[in-house]
């Protein structure tokens, strides 16, 4: 342990074995001090950033049927919706009125909308000038299958239509055992990495997420982090990493088997471990949407340097029974109270 601690303090990279050792043996205080040291090395200024944006889920109709999801509607069950142009326009206008700079655009894997539908949606939205952070890798893989086009071609067409960056959703755990059990219809781990690699090569910045605390082992979490770190070594295209725990309420997974909700301490430990391991990803986001304002504030001492987004609208976590809401003013108060200066940012972390 002392050797590992010295490595981290000397800004040396830790390997998978070190990670597993830390996870087993380090106490909460050690993880906090070490993650905070890494965070301060990357961000010596006492600044915590956030973005003003809104989640727009263009449809909840989804053929993926992931067992951890409480949001989707299967096509055959009916009741699902695709947002109209008028709804999109209104949501964007509301966002811009609140000083919002971007839309996080994600939706279910719709069974039959062609690629042109998404291109038109992007062109329509882009007319407002807003940054579109859209289409996670499972959506892009799905579009590519439906259109029978290679992934680079799909991303190029979406970029031409106005796509600005890609969110890191749908990563869940980047391990195919976990994915086969929880989300067999979703793109596999290799494809997720491939989409991000292609996007980075085409000049798009993206984020990466990890949804943990369900059926995965610690070794599988490590595999996830390793894959993100390896790709980042090659491309440098990830702006941020966002780990958040599975929210079990109303999900098929929780109905089928007992899954204990990740506690605050387990969240903070994972956050700190991610900060320590991903030495090449500049920003780590706190997840106030799943943890609430108190733990999110505390996470600023466990590796997080970013408060994420104001999320003027959020539907997916809310469907799993967790409904925290925070205004920009409240985010600024929490950041200031923790001893940092709040700073609004864009997707690529340039200050506003």
């Amino acid at each position: 342990m002392q050797k590992i601690i010295r490595k981290i303090e000397a800004a040396q990279r830790i390997d998978g074995e070190d990670f597993l050792r830390l996870e087993q043996e380090a106490d909460l205080h050690q993880l906090g001090f070490l993650a905070n040291a890494v965070r301060l090395r990357l961000h010596p200024e006492p600044v915590v950033t956030y973005v003003i944006d809104r989640n727009i889920n263009y449809t909840d109709i989804c053929i993926s049927a992931c067992k951890f999801c409480a949001f989707f509607k299967a096509p055959e069950e009916g009741g699902g919706q695709v947002l109209t142009r008028a709804e999109l326009a209104q949501k964007i206008a509301e966002t811009q009125e609140l000083g919002g700079t971007q839309i996080l655009l994600q939706g279910g894997l719709h069974p039959d909308k062609p690629l042109e539908f998404y291109e038109e949606m992007l062109r329509f939205m882009k007319a407002t000038g807003i940054h579109i952070h859209g289409f996670s890798p499972p959506e892009i893989v799905h579009f590519s299958r439906l259109a029978d086009l290679p992934i680079p071609k799909v991303i190029e067409r979406l970029m031409a239509a106005g796509l600005d960056s890609i969110p890191g959703g749908g990563a869940e755990i980047l391990n195919n055992r976990v994915r086969r059990e929880l989300a067999p219809n979703k793109c596999d781990a290799d494809q997720w990495i491939e989409v991000m690699a292609v996007a980075h090569d085409l000049g798009l910045r993206t984020t990466a997420t990890m949804m943990f605390g369900h059926i995965e082992t610690m070794a599988e979490r490590l595999e996830h982090l390793q894959r993100v770190r390896d790709l980042q070594d090659r491309t440098g295209g990830f702006t941020a990493f966002i780990p958040w725990p599975f929210q079990p309420d109303h999900t098929p997974l929780a109905a089928a088997r007992t899954i204990e909700k990740t506690t605050a301490i387990s969240y903070l430990r994972m956050l700190a471990l991610s900060r320590i391991f991903l030495d090449n990803v500049r920003n780590i986001q706190a997840s106030w949407v799943t943890q609430g304002p108190k733990i999110a504030q505390l996470s600023l001492f466990f590796g997080a340097n970013d408060f994420g987004s104001t999320m003027i609208e959020e539907n997916v976590v809310a469907a799993a029974g967790v409904r925290f809401r925070l205004s920009e003013e409240e985010i600024r108060r929490l950041v200031t109270d923790a001893g940092f200066r709040p700073q609004q940012r864009l997707m690529d972390y340039t200050p506003v």
Partner: protein, 364 residues
């Protein structure tokens, strides 16, 4: 990790904490103004583990608030109501007994009972409450009536506090909860609860109870208009009283909940301020055996984290919590003991089910 504490400029305090030396008010001030909550947590954890090892306590208890009718009407309170108010209520002795009866199938070891300063219920009512509960559940420990209520009951009884306490004990009282302390500062009491028993009066009742062999708890309501110095003076007054009588069991920092109070313009406390108050009270109150992270007040997530920041007790299963919820608490009104045990375990602590006096009933 000591190097991190020294880097944070807290080396001297660390040395004192390691040697078990008492911290001064100036030390307390340095801690309150310190920007790194990790450092405070680390220091508090040294005292916490020295005092309570790896144990984290909880209790299987039932809360009963016999009445919210109150003549004090403190500005920070959303629970107290004037007699005749649409939301005012009072329970008969029979109703209280029914509440106890309804849960006889559960392994409840404590009934926690407080109420307002009622304008006209007689002393006999309170004696009957205690006797009634004991009739229904003879083995249960009744922790009831804050020092403020005891002072009021002594006036009703027309007897000194020690005699009043003796009558209450004879009727079934087991110990006193820590409420009503708020912040002892006369300035704060003048501005927020001028009709309430003074800080000195509160301490006098607590010490009298201790001298009668009764254990009590102590609280501090933080996060409204009090200053850091006022908090520290409050903690120091408790520490001095404890030196005299050694009757306090637990200290419970209480986060102010502004909603529905006359001080609703205040913001709610933050996670950092909640942990700061827990850590600093653990460090200052070196003669208190226990520091409680009351999950109803700060949420179960933060209460769990607090087990590494000085706290060794998560309170209990608490059914039907009313006082904090009337002030907008968004926590559940009850938590199953299985959930408590899991939270404690995931915090790396050993779950210990206790009785009111911290006798170990079960370990998990």
């Amino acid at each position: 990790m000591d190097a991190y504490i020294e880097q944070a400029g807290l080396g001297q305090i660390l040395a004192k904490v390691r040697n078990g030396e008492r911290l001064t008010l100036a030390d307390g001030r340095a801690l309150y103004h310190h920007p790194n909550i990790l450092a405070l947590g680390y220091l508090a954890n040294i005292v916490r583990e020295r005092t309570n090892g790896n144990q984290a306590f909880f209790i299987y208890n039932q809360h009963i608030n016999y009445s919210n009718i109150c003549t004090n009407l403190c500005k920070f309170c959303a629970f107290g109501k004037e007699k005749g108010h649409a939301l005012a209520y009072e329970m008969t002795v029979e109703e209280v007994k029914d509440k106890v009866r309804l849960r006889l199938d559960e392994p409840i070891s404590e009934i926690h009972m407080v109420g307002g300063i009622h304008p006209d219920l007689p002393f006999s009512y309170y004696l009957d409450l205690l006797r009634g509960i004991k009739e229904v559940r003879p083995e249960v420990h009744i922790q009831a009536f804050t020092c403020v209520e005891i002072h009021h009951l002594a006036q009703l009884a027309g007897k000194p506090v020690d005699h009043t306490l003796r009558d209450l004990v004879d009727a079934g009282l087991g110990s006193l909860p820590g409420g009503g302390a708020e912040v002892f500062s006369p300035r704060i009491r003048q501005m927020t609860c001028e009709k309430k028993l003074s800080g000195e009066g509160w301490l006098e009742v607590a010490k009298t109870a201790h001298r009668q062999g009764l254990h009590t708890n102590a609280t501090m309501l933080y996060g409204h208009i009090e200053t850091v110095d006022e908090r520290l003076e409050h903690l120091d007054a408790l520490r001095c009283a404890q030196d005299e009588t050694n009757g306090f069991l637990a200290f419970i920092p209480l986060a102010f909940h502004p909603k529905n109070t006359e001080m609703a313009e205040h913001a709610t406390t933050t996670g950092i301020s909640d942990l700061k108050n827990i850590a600093i009270s653990r460090l200052m109150l070196d003669n208190f055996p226990h520091i409680k992270a009351y999950w109803v007040m700060i949420g179960p997530k933060l209460a769990q984290v607090a087990l590494a920041f000085g706290a060794d007790d998560m309170d209990g299963t608490v059914k039907e919590e009313v006082i904090t919820h009337m002030a907008g608490a968004e926590t559940a009104q009850a938590m199953g003991h299985k959930t408590l045990i899991r939270l404690i375990r995931e915090a790396g602590r050993q779950p210990v089910q206790r009785d009111t006096l911290y006798k170990v009933l079960a370990t998990y």
